[in-house]
């Protein structure tokens, strides 16, 4: 991706919050995080594994403690990558709106927040708790695969929410909310890795080496992750 002044006015400070389940974290996540960090001149990217209650997913997630541990191993050595345990340590249901509110209160007011997410998740954003409030808290960066045609916003969110957005004249593929925050759609290098496929391959004892960091692979093996159908 070309380095440019896209996304952040010169001199401004921004931090990235990369949301996901990271079950497990893989090179697709890491490479996307790195490209976004550079493209938007972010001070750092914080990987934010979501707790998500088990009854909300078809397949139970790996315990958040493991997912956090794998993330820590994956980001070790990159001074611009962090791991957030905010959702891991919060009791009860974890909603993104609460997490972003907490971060917004925590950061100085001159620091912009950029929530990074995959297109798959973005297409379901209207199912998230109080999702319309998210756009008043943070910018959004939706990462897509090259060549992917993004949907119209009105196909993803309600008409009422969509009506608050307009194309942002300064750059392509960017919508600006009336409150000032923007949604950026950005392609990142295609690394054809999907966590669900990794979990299947691990269960089938197929090698996933070079798709995930070596230390994460060691951790998976040491802890017997993904080897059997989880019961928790």
């Amino acid at each position: 991706m070309k380095k440019s002044s896209q996304g952040a006015p010169p001199g401004s400070k921004g931090v990235g919050l990369f949301g996901g389940t990271f079950d497990p974290v893989h090179h697709g996540h890491l490479r996307a995080g790195e490209e976004i960090r550079q493209a938007f001149s972010l001070s750092w990217v914080e990987f934010l594994p979501a707790r998500i209650p088990p009854h909300k997913t078809d397949q139970p997630l790996t315990d958040i403690g493991h997912r956090v541990a794998m993330l820590r191993l994956a980001v070790d050595g990159n001074p611009y990558f962090r791991v957030s345990e905010v959702e891991a340590t919060r009791e009860g249901m974890s909603y993104l709106v609460d997490t972003l509110k907490a971060y917004r209160e925590h950061y100085p007011s001159d620091v912009s927040m950029y929530f990074i997410m995959g297109m798959d998740s973005f297409q379901e954003i209207a199912t998230w708790h109080r999702y319309s409030e998210l756009f008043s808290l943070s910018h959004f960066i939706v990462i897509t695969r090259p060549g992917y045609e993004r949907p119209e916003l009105s196909e993803v969110v309600s008409q009422d929410v969509a009506s608050h957005f307009a194309p942002y004249g300064g750059e392509s593929d960017c919508l600006e909310h009336t409150g000032g925050h923007r949604i950026y759609f950005r392609e990142t290098t295609l690394l054809d890795v999907a966590a669900s496929r990794l979990r299947t391959w691990i269960r089938e004892e197929r090698s996933v080496r070079y798709l995930i960091p070596e230390r994460v692979w060691d951790y998976v093996q040491e802890n017997g992750l993904y080897a059997n159908t989880r019961k928790d």
């Binding site: 400070k13 931090v15 001070s43 750092w44 001074p79 611009y80 962090r82 950061y107 100085p108 620091v111």
Partner: protein
């Protein structure tokens, strides 16, 4: 470096002790090549401490090393282990609570984002010429001869 003040007339004033402690912590931080030393006199603004010492390391390992060194020296020289530490594992912003002095050790991106000095801009800064001189000496020297780069 001896620091004992016990036995001074009517006893040492708490503020002077705290200032001395802050300066000592700054020197110890410099022994581990910390940079961006800032000593803020916050006593009039808040009851939480008399002084903040703020400094930076260039990596998480360095911030952790700075904090470890200050902690060790405090125990050795002042016989005062710190009351607590926060953020040590992450290493981006480590807070060392030394009672009347609170030490903040940042890595560079974190310091730039939080700009603690700006938040406490009403606090008078303590400048000490010895500290300034030591900080200059501790900064990585720019090699003058080309052969300094050769292994």
């Amino acid at each position: 470096m001896s620091t004992t003040k016990a036995g001074d007339g009517g006893g040492p004033s708490p503020t002077n002790d705290a200032k001395e402690k802050a300066l000592l912590c700054a020197r110890w931080a410099l022994e581990k090549k910390a940079h961006g030393i800032a000593i803020l006199n916050i006593g009039a603004l808040t009851p939480i401490a008399e002084y903040f010492l703020i400094c930076s390391g260039r990596s998480v390992r360095q911030t952790q090393a700075i904090v470890e060194h200050i902690r060790t020296r405090l125990k050795q020289e002042l016989k005062e282990p710190p009351l607590g530490v926060e953020g040590e594992r992450e290493g981006c912003w480590i807070l060392l609570d030394c009672n009347d002095v609170i030490v903040h050790v940042f890595d560079e991106p974190t310091r730039e984002v939080y700009r603690l000095e700006k938040l406490w801009s009403d606090a008078p800064r303590v400048t000490d010429p010895d500290i300034l001189e030591e900080e200059e000496k501790a900064a990585a020297p720019w090699p003058e001869e080309e052969e300094d780069w050769e292994d």
